[in-house]
Amino acid sequence: MPIKILVTAKRVEDYESKIKVNAQGTGIVQEGLKYKINPFDEIGVEEALRLVAKHGGGEVVVVSIGTKDVHEQLRHALAMGATKAIWVNHTGPLDQMTVAGCLQKLIEKEKPHLAILGKQSIDDDQNQVGQYLAEWLGWSQATFASKEESLESEAEKTKQPALKLAADLSTITVVREVDGGLETVECTMPCVVTTDLRLNQPRYASLPGIMKAKSKPIEEHTPASLGVDGASKIAVTKMELPPARKAGIKVPDVAALVDKLKTEAKAL
């Protein structure tokens, strides 16, 4: 049974970039920064492509919100194999509720069977959108999706999806990463899944894929056209880097270590 899956592709700073806070403390210095698709979202795109391949075809619709710069991330997902892209044109800050609101409206319009989002984005690590979205849609949710097999396993090499969809698409079984290890849940569909790091190893955008992506459609919306308030309800008052770590010390022996732990660190 062909399936339709909605995925996200947030534009975030490349995790290899060195982030600096600007002199006014109002934001980061953007000059010279590289941007990428949020790695957790990329894992979501990969999982969606694997599910579609396993279930005899279907559609993967990728969504990004931001200025026209986000086309770069949408094209990346299209080059990986997504079918269609949706760009929500928005300039300025965004809060999690606006993002979830836009996704909710798009899901009501697109009617996918499943939504796969990154568990969080690596810029401000909020981890909220998936949960809001499931609640507002009245869908079930499975956050921190992972798998039992390692990333070196045969299942990973042959690009098997880790999410297990019932053939009639009535349920989905998700292995979740939790504090104590892994937990397996079965959810009624439709469902919002958010991805954790070990769910899969995303494929490269192939050169033919990149060339094909040029002719794939990018549909444009705005928060207003979707009926969502685009004004951020969160104001950033100040931004600063965490204090630099102090240099460590060497202790001559175990006794000195225990002493320091007792007297200085007061950890014992």
Partner: protein, 380 residues
């Protein structure tokens, strides 16, 4: 005039860069040490469309622009120029067919490469005919509906593993360049033998062998172009591939520069990082300026091909400048690393050995100078 890479080019570069960083580089030292053939890595490159970039869309290929191919070539060479040589060997071998094949020949000799992982070799050089291409002695005698091929080809990249060969030979050595033609040899016909892998100084991941033909029958329909057109086809092929070879030098030099910068910042002497010394700074500054100059020169030579312009002069500038530049940059990188640079424990001595070959293959630095001078001095 616009020096920005388009979004498409940036996306292609991103994939090639990621492949160079995550797939090629971690294995570069291993294949350099063993001299084994990195077939699995080249197959992965094939799956991503990083080889056979030149095959026309009409034959199932992606037909990348020359500029795009150059952008990709830099990243592959940054990963490992030995592996890159083996990867781009396919494009070099398929170019004569792309440039001069009939529609039927293109379908027959190019399409299979888009459907299956296959390797091809370009056979021009002979034991006695290197820079003097017209001095070749590999002969093909016409007998009815086939040619009978006799002779030897030397320094043939991927020759041991290739499924198809573009072999340049002559109907009569006395005719010099007017006797040359190009034949496509498929598989291992009777009388065709492959010599042992050359134990090379650098680019050791690329397979290099001698091919010997003894009364090898090749169907006449495998002839690309006419008898006597082979020299021109070979020269056109090299005009097309020269920007890629120049880009290998750029990728190799960029790798050396990055290693040198990282090392200079952390290596302490006289109580401070050696990057604080002007003697080191000047070496790095030259590497950076010259790598960038070579890249732009090469981009221009590729851009000219895309614009339908003859690029012989500028691509010879690019290949000459980039190859000599990479030799200097990698030698200086070894110098910055000092004793450690001379050790195989560190990555820069490999880059220096690899760079040497770029001054030699696909037209030595001296041949490039001859071409440049000939272009400038001809006429009037």
């Amino acid at each position: 005039m616009n020096f920005d890479l388009t979004d498409d080019l940036k996306a292609l570069q991103e994939t090639a860069r990621k492949f160079g960083r995550e797939v090629m580089r971690p294995k570069a030292a291993h294949y350099d040490e063993t001299g084994h053939f990195p077939k699995e890595i080249i197959q992965q490159a094939w799956e991503l469309g990083l080889i056979n970039m030149t095959i026309p869309q009409a034959n199932g290929g992606i037909e990348l622009s020359h500029l795009a191919q150059a952008v990709v070539a830099e990243e592959l060479a940054w990963g490992c120029s030995g592996m890159a040589t083996s990867m781009i060997a396919n494009d070099l071998a398929l170019l004569p067919i792309v440039l001069a094949g009939t529609p039927e020949q293109k379908e027959k000799f190019l399409r299979p490469f888009t459907e299956k992982f296959l390797l091809a070799s370009f056979g021009l050089t002979e034991p006695g005919a290197g820079s003097d291409v017209a001095g070749m002695r590999c002969t093909a005698r016409r007998e009815g509906d086939h040619y009978v091929l006799n002779g030897q080809k030397q320094w043939i990249t991927n020759g041991e593993y290739a499924d198809q060969y573009s072999i340049f030979c002559t109907t009569d050595p006395a005719k010099k360049h007017k006797g040359i033609m190009c034949l496509v040899v498929q598989g291992r016909p009777k009388g065709f033998t492959v010599g042992k892998h050359e134990n090379k100084m650098g680019q050791r991941a690329s397979n290099t062998v001698t091919l010997t033909f003894e009364d090898v029958k090749v169907p006449v329909e495998n002839r690309i172009g006419q008898e006597g057109e082979g020299f021109l086809i070979a020269m056109n092929t090299l005009d097309n591939s020269r920007p890629l070879t120049a880009m290998f030098a750029v990728g190799n030099a960029r790798a050396a520069m990055e290693h040198a910068i990282d090392y200079a910042k952390q290596r302490q002497q006289f109580g401070k990082p050696i990057a604080d010394f002007q003697g080191i700074q000047f070496l790095i500054a030259d590497m950076a300026a010259e790598t960038h100059a070579a890249r732009l020169l090469t981009y221009q030579s590729a851009w000219m091909l895309d614009a339908g312009q003859r690029n012989t002069l500028v691509s010879s500038y690019a290949k000459r400048f980039a190859a000599d530049m990479a030799m200097k940059a990698t030698t200086d990188a070894v110098q910055i690393f000092g004793g450690y640079g001379y050790s195989k424990e560190y990555p820069v001595e490999k880059l220096m050995r690899d760079a040497k070959l770029i001054q030699i293959y696909e037209g030595t630095s001296q041949v490039q100078r001859l071409v440049i001078a000939r272009e400038l001095l001809k006429g009037s």
